[in-house]
């Protein structure tokens, strides 16, 4: 097994749904601390790629390695334990629980105490305490007590991110973190994104070009399951093919 400097390495990842190729021989490298934006028109296969990486979809071919370890055959929960974490485009929060518990449950799982069938006692309190801290880092500790279903959408998106961070990821896959958030609230999310820990390798799917260009140091363009091109933001902005793909949508 090669000791690779890459946090995440994808080689030749492919997936077909019948005649439709949703992923075609994708190669991608993420170094530790990377900030990579993944853009492409609707239906390009961006979320599919994330599903392939997390294990919700099984690839037809290709290899994925996380910190040098081959994970393409691993179950989703094992990948999470090894530091591959994602957020969802549409919130998947525990709506009946409050904000604090949502994060605490993730911490309990991370620390391996979630299987214990005896009363929680000190360990659970430790989870709650750490959860409080995480919420403070993101800036939503004020609503720790509230039920998720009562939160405004923007804060729910922040909670998604908080939960992901609580799992101590080494590679973080953000699926449109600002999606559906009203413009007035989205700057909060952008701030959070900029303050994400520097050592985490981050792949972010986004449609909002402002966010991508501010946040990403490298951009990969995905079209119909294939990588069209990749490069630093200025190159991508100047690339005529990319502009064509977005059909005249202005790319700064």
């Amino acid at each position: 097994m090669n000791a690779s400097a890459n946090a995440l390495e994808i080689r030749g990842l492919s997936k077909n749904f019948g005649a439709l190729a949703v992923a075609q021989s994708i190669d991608l490298d993420l170094k530790p601390g990377a900030r990579m934006g993944l853009i492409g028109p609707n239906g390009a296969g961006k979320t599919t790629l994330i599903n392939l990486l997390t294990g919700m979809l099984a690839p037809d071919a290709g290899a994925i390695s996380l910190n040098g370890e081959a994970i393409a055959r691993m179950k989703p929960e094992d990948r999470v334990r090894r530091g591959l974490v994602r957020t969802h485009q549409i919130n998947t929060l525990l709506t009946e629980m409050n904000v604090l518990d949502n994060v605490a449950v993730a911490i309990a799982e991370r620390d391996g105490i979630a299987w214990r069938m005896f009363r929680y006692g000190g360990q659970w309190r430790a989870c709650l305490a750490e959860a409080d801290e995480r919420l403070r880092e993101i800036g939503i500790d004020a609503v720790a007590d509230r039920r998720v279903s009562e939160l405004p959408y923007g804060q729910q998106r922040l909670l998604e991110i908080a939960i992901a961070l609580a799992l101590r990821p080494r590679v973080l896959l953000l699926d449109e973190p600002a999606a559906g958030v009203p413009a007035a609230e989205s700057h909060v999310i952008h701030d959070v994104l900029e303050r994400l820990p520097k050592d985490i390798a981050i792949l972010i799917i986004e449609h909002d070009m402002d966010v991508v260009f501010r946040f990403a140091r490298e951009i990969t363009v995905l079209v119909q399951g294939r990588i069209l091109t990749r490069g630093v933001p200025s190159e991508i902005a100047a690339n005529p093919e990319v502009r064509a793909v977005y059909l005249g949508r202005s790319v700064k």
Partner: protein, 329 residues
């Protein structure tokens, strides 16, 4: 704002007095309920069955109409054990519980990767298959006639008396032990992760939860508990028949659970008591009258009272507290 003192599972804020109440009532009944002890034991058995279903369905969200399989499995195992191996009740109970738990674990492993109607169908299919087998294997199960069992002394010391008083205490003790276990599970990190699984399996997978294993675990425990209920039924009535495996038992368990309130543990107490009493009374009026009442109650509960009758109690309790607070001030 100290959030460390406010877990979201409601029961925690209940003072110990309320906890002791159902047990005190049950004990009191032992002394005053002359002539009705067998009815009381029946209620206790059903409480245990409903409790088991609360774990699987109420907390973990496993929608099942197949718990009769575990109830009947436990009942027949206990009966057969007493008949062919050793008829001391506690030993038979433990054997029946463990074997039913294994059965539940095995079937759970097969079916718990599915959800919704498919899962429901599979639980039904298992239940019907085993009922069918029991019907045909009348050499072992006694078929339509069932099995009559003679039980030995409980722990070698206490004889089951004709009025069913010893049986009542025996059932109460068993219920108490299982209740403690259920309580512990429900308020543990495991219980919390089950709650999460019920609300959103994808979310739990995304934080690294081995969802399938957790579900299998709780299904096995729930099945074992239902098996104990069946074994109790067989041992205290000294009879086991095909009705213990019938889908109707699964349905009745669901009704009792919903009436009392899911995710409330004590809801099982209320639901089972009401059901048995209604059935006993209504059946005297007309054999099918109870179906009408129970069906109607079920529909009304779902429509208007999602938390079951426990929710009514909660409301009452809250009003009391407000009342007392005002009085004190």
């Amino acid at each position: 704002m100290n959030t460390l003192q406010k877990p979201t599972l409601g029961d925690d804020r209940v003072s110990p007095l309320w906890h002791a109440l159902p047990w005190l009532l049950a004990l009191a009944f032992y002394f005053v309920g002359a002539g009705y002890h067998s009815l009381g034991t029946n209620i206790l058995v059903y409480i245990l069955l409903t409790l088991s279903l609360d774990l699987a369905l109420g907390y973990a969200g496993i929608i099942t109409l197949g718990h009769a399989a575990f109830f009947g499995f436990g009942a027949y195992t206990a009966a057969l054990f007493a008949m062919h191996v050793y008829n001391e009740p506690v030993t038979g109970l433990i054997v029946a519980t463990v074997l039913t738990g294994i059965f539940a674990a095995l079937t759970g492993m097969l079916i718990l990767h599915t959800q919704g109607v498919t899962l429901l169908m599979l639980t039904l299919a298992i239940s019907i298959l085993i009922a069918e087998w029991a019907n045909r294997a009348h050499d072992i199960t006694g078929g339509e006639d069932g099995l009559r069992v003679t039980m030995g002394y409980v722990l070698g010391l206490f004889r089951f008396d004709l009025w069913g008083r010893v049986a009542y205490l025996y059932a109460l003790a068993v219920l108490f032990v299982w209740f403690l276990a259920a309580w512990s599970i429900v308020h543990s990190p495991f219980g919390r992760s089950l709650d999460g699984i019920r609300q959103s399996p994808p979310r739990m997978r995304a934080i690294g939860t081995p969802v399938w294993w957790r579900l299998v675990a709780i299904y096995a425990i729930s099945g074992a508990m239902a098996g104990t209920a069946g074994a109790l039924s067989a041992q205290t009535t000294r009879f086991v028949g095909l009705n213990t495996l019938h889908v109707l038992i699964s349905g009745i368990a669901v009704v009792m659970l919903v009436l009392g309130g899911t995710k409330r543990l004590y809801g099982a107490f209320i639901g089972a008591t009401i059901y048995v009493l209604v059935q006993d009374i209504a059946a005297k009026v007309n054999p099918f009258y109870w179906m009408f009442v129970i069906g109607g109650l079920l529909m009304a509960t779902v429509m208007f009272l999602e938390g079951g009758l426990m929710e009514v109690l909660d409301i009452i309790r809250r009003r009391f507290r407000r009342l007392f607070a005002r009085v004190r001030l």
